[in-house]
Amino acid sequence: MRELDHGKVVQAICNSTREVFSTMLGMEVEAGESYRQQSVPGANAGVVSLIGLAGDWAGSGGISCSPEFARHISSALLMTEFSSVDEEVLDAVAEVTNMIIGNVKNSLEEDLGPMGLSIPTVIFGRNFTTRSVGNSDWIVVPFQSASEQMKVQICIAPNKTKHSPRPGFANGLALA
């Protein structure tokens, strides 16, 4: 079984996030120090967007940020001001997640083999907790843009079931 190279994953996340932000949002982001975490990072308030990955390796990837940052990136993407987190903001965050994690997936496929990508799911609220049923760590990269922060994270492990025709939350992510 091929090994997951932490450095390559972090590099793929950094490259993809910078490219999506500069090309689609006209924004620069600065990556902070990456780390590993067991639960979905920052997932107790704000906006969390997740996409499933499935193939010989399976898992989830996503972004988490404050409602203010979600409105900010949506405004940059759609060139429209948003005063609240509405359907359009959630859709924009989902698409930014799709582009970031989709391009991370494209990079990782060179080492881990082909993977499918699910439709994104976006969660917005307060006082919620999330947990991963699987025991793999999340690789988290924080990014700073002006005074705001967001996190891009991915949790991926060898797929023991082999059959994942439609990727979902393949690592068993659950809302509690």
Partner: protein, 123 residues
Amino acid sequence: MTLDVMIVDDSAAIRKILQRVLRQAEVPIGEVFEAGDGREALGMLETRSVGLILSDINMPNMDGLEFLGQLKASNHLKNVPVVMVTTEGSQMKVMEAVELGAAGYVRKPFTAEQIKEKLTGII
């Protein structure tokens, strides 16, 4: 001479951005029709004709590759050029799209220039 265009993507944000990019790229577009997936697009194409389709791949209900396959199997739709605009960048998916008859492939994220360049020669 303007061209009616159909944009097929489950993200309303991307449909809006592509419309803006087409206008920025000075593509002479007429009416723009939007569909959220392949199934909806095929339904709309029963009563409308377009000169160009931009389609995502990863979509619910009917994905972009199945949509492309059905379109190319249809006598009255097979000549409409389809450009895939998608995050999906694996060689396997690109090859599949080309074999099914895609006229072009643009990876997200994209610039207006990339879209314009891809459409030059197609329309």
